[in-house]
Symmetry: C2
Subunit: 229 residues, 2 copies
């Protein structure tokens, strides 16, 4: 029996190895606590099959398996990891609850507006209303970024030391990719930069690039797909 | 010093007392564990002010204050409540982690597509593309509902006994309100019905109706606003 957790990831990188799919945040959390892990690739076809649906009812990646623990949803996976190891959640109960609130804010309040812009881009591009739809989606993103920027202010992290809340939020913001939406918020750009400079992030990033390996040249020329994971 | 937690709610019901705003799920969780609580109303104007932003950086309701614990995000609030009392999370560690995964799925995977339809409805109604935009938003909702319906199957709850995961998911589905989207999934309709039949739900529902009280007649005739909480 392996004592390593196993996660799933896309078989081929939908973003040319830029690490924007949701396995990245789980890899990063595992690197932060120094936990080795295995990665099982899942094809888009296999994601629809019963075996994967048992692990992930919404047919996404990543999933997490470790002994009798089987999980989906990156927030739940990262929280499970963070709760069982030092370093990703404060010891103080009130601060810990606040860090968890930032995890929920990342996936429930900030990520959805970013995903909506992606959904509009791959489903409505070319429609007569596309430009206006895209602007509306970007306005919704800016509202969230503005609120987040005001809260962060000049601090390094959202609430004291780096926590799983920052890990989730920074990874969600990374999903904006090469859009210039973050550019209007220098403190958020710097925040993401600080997160990406963490050695654990670098290790996770390099690991996903190595995982995709030779497939990268091919997937680079593929049109962007829904990063459903 | 009060020993009751205090939550915030809209000063006036945006849905005519149907309990579709997000304070409902926190009220419900508190009723499930038999915890009394106070409710502080917040006007739309006050939600933008610094005092509220300190509690809720994204200017939403509800918030939760209990002694030195101050929280936002309903997932985090309900998890905080559930983790400190019996009855809303399984004792077994693996089952507990799965219940938390359903909480994240509710707010991170199912609620966003429902909110997107609401956002389209109040921001893009009247535009030339509105009908097609609405259909696209509803298609995204049906994809999620179909996956959820397949997973639930003939079971009463998503994973064993009723948990905070069901509480969050059922309340998110309630947000579909009087749309006929749930109608295509009889097992999900029955699931929401079971949830709403729980005595704790009824108490919470009645409490929010009583809270809005005389304001209901007025707000019934008000056009639907963004339920930003």
């Amino acid at each position: 029996m392996s004592t390593h957790p196993t996660i799933t990831a896309f078989e081929r990188s939908p973003d040319g190895g830029r690490g924007l799919a949701r396995d990245m945040r789980v890899r990063w959390a595992l690197e932060e606590i120094g936990q080795r892990y295995d990665v099982r690739p899942v094809s888009f076809a296999a994601m629809r099959e019963e075996a994967h649906r048992r692990l992930q009812p919404f047919r996404q990646i990543p999933t997490y398996e470790d002994g009798d623990v089987t999980l989906f949803e990156t927030g739940a996976i990262v929280l499970h990891i963070a709760a069982r190891h030092e370093g990703l959640l404060p010891a103080d109960a009130a601060a810990r609850a606040r860090a968890i609130a930032w995890m929920f804010a990342a996936v429930g309040t900030v990520e959805p507006v970013i995903v909506d812009r992606e959904a509009a881009t791959y489903r409505e591009r070319g429609k007569p209303w596309f430009e206006r739809r895209l602007r509306a989606a970007e306005d919704r993103i800016r509202v969230r970024l503005n609120d987040l920027s005001l809260r962060l202010g000049g601090a390094d992290w959202l609430d004291g030391d780096f926590s799983a809340g920052d890990l989730m939020m920074a990874d969600v913001l990374r999903r904006l990719g090469r859009s210039d939406l973050l550019g209007g918020f220098p403190n958020l750009l710097a925040y993401v930069g600080r997160a990406e400079a963490r050695p654990a992030f670098r290790r996770a990033f390099d690991a996903q690039r190595a995982f995709f390996g030779a497939g990268l040249a091919a997937s680079k020329s593929t049109p962007a797909k829904e990063p459903s994971g």
